[in-house]
């Protein structure tokens, strides 16, 4: 049997058990998931703690979570006009700050607009997010009234600029203002694009976490998870609900990266960047000094590396492989720091040679590299630290 086949066999034996040995699975996944197109979605659900190791609990748990999510859509996404509210006290022009309508307009302003802008520029290198989903949310797409989130923030301005004048007479009246002519166009009734699904998940997340709201970059993280679930036949049907809960779980670990007031704390983004700098000083003092001498702060590159879990630094297939290892690690974010440190060390010769500008460019546009090479280096760093 080839090494690959025996590895696959070992893996299948692990996940066939009624109660999966998560510790063993983590260790195994650290060096990648075999047949990843088939098994990654399942493995990630386990690693996100969304699925219990005991298989007998899966069915009822999934049913409950998917129902819960559906209820969130009903409660938070469906606008007041579609609900039975007492119009004498609650109407769009109500002065009452607690009125469902004033919340509705406030949400549009405070985060929906930003979400809408960002989901329309999600992973533009692949066409996935612009494509329709095979499993649109029935509550939304089949509804008689128009309840799509992006319509709430579409500018509907009739301006004089729409009337073209030439000479004396009015030449052309352009009443319909088309929006987003690019590829991230909304779908017809009965259909919705994958970016619309991501928009809904982020909207619900922001509604449930008002203190934190929506922060740019969350779209990149949820985008990766949703892609993995929705592009897997066996997991696509409930990709939205499952992704939402997995995203919620991972955010509970990394939410501090996204909160400005926690920037200076240990788990805040600056704390993480400082850890990277200290690690680099230990592992490769020459490079660390070089960056310091040139005044290259970790904010210039590692801010994005860490807060987005490297999702913008590599091509998507490599990001997925990288996340396998990071998610599988018991101390995920320690390992993330090792990976970041390995990335810098792997381009050390260039860094030592380059001037300030070339180094900033190099770090902000990390050169294409075999992802396994990066991971191996990170493993070596982690090992040498533990011994």
């Amino acid at each position: 049997m080839s090494a690959y086949k025996s590895r696959l066999k070992e893996f299948e034996n692990l996940i066939i058990e009624d109660e999966i040995d998560i510790k063993k699975l983590r260790k195994f996944i650290h060096s990648g998931i075999p047949e990843c197109a088939k098994y990654r979605a399942l493995c990630w659900k386990l690693l996100f703690n969304y699925l219990d190791p005991k298989k007998k609990n899966w069915e009822s748990h999934l049913e409950r979570q998917r129902n819960n999510y559906n209820n969130l859509i009903k409660d938070l996404v469906i606008p007041p006009s579609c609900k039975n509210v007492d119009l004498s006290i609650d109407h769009p022009l109500s002065d009452n700050v607690d009125s469902t309508w004033s919340t509705y307009f406030r949400d549009n302003e405070t985060f929906l607009l930003q979400i809408d802008r960002d989901v329309r520029r999600l992973l533009p290198d692949i066409s996935f997010f612009q494509m329709p989903t095979a499993y649109p949310c029935k509550l939304v797409v089949d509804s008689e009234t128009d309840i799509r989130l992006h319509r709430r923030v579409a500018p509907s301005v009739l301006s004089s600029a729409n009337v073209e004048r030439k000479g004396l007479g009015m030449k052309k009246i352009n009443l319909i203002v088309k929006r987003a002519p690019e590829n991230y166009e909304a779908m017809q009734k009965g259909q919705e694009a994958n970016w619309e699904v991501v928009e809904r998940m982020l909207f619900i997340y922001a509604k449930l976490n008002l203190g934190q709201g929506y922060v740019q970059g969350m779209n990149e993280i949820i985008g990766v998870i949703y892609y993995v679930f929705a592009s897997n036949e066996d997991h696509a049907e409930f990709a939205e609900a499952d992704c939402f809960w997995c995203f919620t779980n991972i955010m509970s670990e990394i939410r501090d990266f996204f909160i400005k007031t926690l920037d200076e704390t240990d788990m805040g983004i600056r704390g993480m960047m400082n850890r990277l700098v200290r690690m680099l000083e230990l592992k490769d003092v020459h490079v660390a000094n070089r960056l310091k001498e040139q005044g290259i702060l970790p904010q210039y590159y590692a801010f994005r590396w860490i807060s987005l879990i490297l999702s913008q630094e590599f091509d998507l297939p490599d990001v997925l492989r990288l996340w396998d290892s990071i998610l599988a690690d018991e101390n995920r974010f320690d390992y993330l720091i090792y990976v970041c440190c390995a990335m810098i060390i792997l381009i050390r010769d260039q860094i030592l040679e380059n001037d300030f500008e070339h180094n900033v460019k190099l770090l902000q546009n990390f050169p294409p590299m075999d992802i396994n090479y990066v991971l191996n280096r990170a493993d070596q760093l982690a090992e040498s630290s533990s011994t």
């Binding site: 922060v215 740019q216 380059n354």
Partner: protein, 205 residues
């Protein structure tokens, strides 16, 4: 690679609300290309372009910032090192124009007093979606005594011009200083560029 091929180095900063087209403006200027599908900028990005003004080779080091409020603690630390700031709004987005005042206040708080400022009303090719008239842009610029231009990264309108006008204004300023006070030259002194006080200062802030 470390051989200097320029006479002066100017550090510029692009700020403004999310989605107004800062990254597109910079991309048009540095790579002469346009794409409407840019990912959102997280933290800060960086590009270089060398231009020639009055017989001098000027290297522009341009920092592109994330627009969302959350990133302000990260991005305001760059203000101090900037010699020129481009403040961008989107002529199809009223809010981004209203926020100009807020961004100007940010500049007052965090940037050098003599920083050269310029307001850009971007996306001026989208005439059918315009909600901010050119006049309103001109008025606010006049009120604050700042240069103003409408631009389009997509149709390549005024992009080159905006950068060279800003660079020229900085050049005027540095030339003036050279005559009056030689010590000020340290700001653009080639030897000190890589570790100008601006950068060491933002480590501690």
């Amino acid at each position: 690679m470390s051989k200097k091929t320029y006479d002066l180095l100017f550090k510029l900063l692009l700020i403004g609300d999310s989605g107004v087209g800062k990254t597109c403006i910079l991309f048009r200027f540095s790579d002469d290309a346009f794409t409407s599908t840019f990912i959102s900028t997280i933290g800060i990005d960086f590009k270089i372009k060398t231009v020639e003004l009055r017989g001098k080779k000027i290297k522009l080091q341009i920092w592109d910032t994330a627009g969302q409020e959350r990133f302000h603690t990260i991005t305001t630390s760059y203000y101090r090192g900037a010699m020129g700031i481009m403040l961008v709004y989107d002529i199809t987005n009223e809010k981004s124009f209203e926020n100009i005042i807020k961004w100007l206040r940010n500049i007052d708080e965090h940037a050098n007093e003599d920083v050269e400022r310029m307001i850009l009303g971007n996306k001026c090719d989208m005439t059918d979606k315009r909600v901010v008239s050119k006049e309103r842009g001109e008025n606010i610029a006049r009120e604050y005594g700042i240069r103003f231009m409408e631009t389009s990264a997509k149709a390549n309108i005024n992009i080159e011009k905006a950068f060279s006008e800003l660079a020229e204004a900085i050049l005027d300023q540095t030339a003036g200083k050279e005559n009056n006070d030689n010590q000020e030259r340290v700001v653009v002194d080639r030897k000190n560029q890589e570790k100008s006080p601006a950068y060491s200062r933002c480590c501690t802030s």
